[in-house]
Symmetry: C2
Subunit: 129 residues, 2 copies
């Protein structure tokens, strides 16, 4: 599972792509947010929906299902009326949350700079066209 790269190594790098496949799943529009919302404690479906904000019901369902299939999230159903479903992080999910929170923290520290850079480019383009 070596991701180091010898200089100018030609051809494809299968390990890179296996890792990339997982990363691009983690990096979809909602996954990281969902995991973040589960760090503190288990949450119910609609609770997560409110916390995340702006996610459609369907996408929350899919996101949670993917996380469950990858072993990051545990789904527990309480057969009450009305039904209650609680989502929590597995051990692997908790360990994932550590680098994820570090990344989120980096984004928070740098988001002003990123957004202002994007904005300035936009203005520049607007001047040209």
């Amino acid at each position: 599972m070596d991701m180091t790269v010898s200089p100018d190594q030609p051809g494809d790098n299968p390990n890179c792509r296996r890792v990339s496949a997982v990363l691009s799943r983690l990096g979809d529009k909602w996954t990281i947010l969902a995991v973040t919302m589960l760090v503190e404690r288990p949450r119910r479906f609609n609770e997560l929906k409110r916390l995340i904000g702006g996610i459609s019901q369907q996408m929350l369902t899919r996101t949670l299902k993917s996380l469950e299939q990858d072993g990051m999230v545990l789904r527990k159903v309480y057969p009450t009326i009305p039904p209650k479903v609680e989502y929590s992080l597995t051990t692997m999910g908790q360990s994932l949350s550590e680098p994820l929170l570090q990344l989120a923290s980096w984004v928070l520290k740098n988001i002003e700079q990123i957004e202002s850079k994007r904005a300035s480019l936009k203005i520049h383009n607007d001047e040209i066209f």
Copy 2:
């Protein structure tokens, strides 16, 4: 820029979505790999293409342009014949690479477990359908 969440706080969370927007850009299919390939030293366009492997020319162009617009990557053109273009990480790009490499490292440590879990679910579904 508070990402902490008071319990059951209703409504949308704009900060979450600003962060999410950046994260989902970072998490696309190629960005993280591209940044990783630039950590060691600057690289030329086709060098990156070879290192990443499997990326189309167009997507590499787009990925690098996005990173440049966000201030992560510096693009330096040497007006030689044939043309030579070198990409390197900016200071912000270097600082980004730290949490990114930690995340990549986490994936490497857990990828076997994730892939086997996915595979076992696939077998299970194949038995049903």
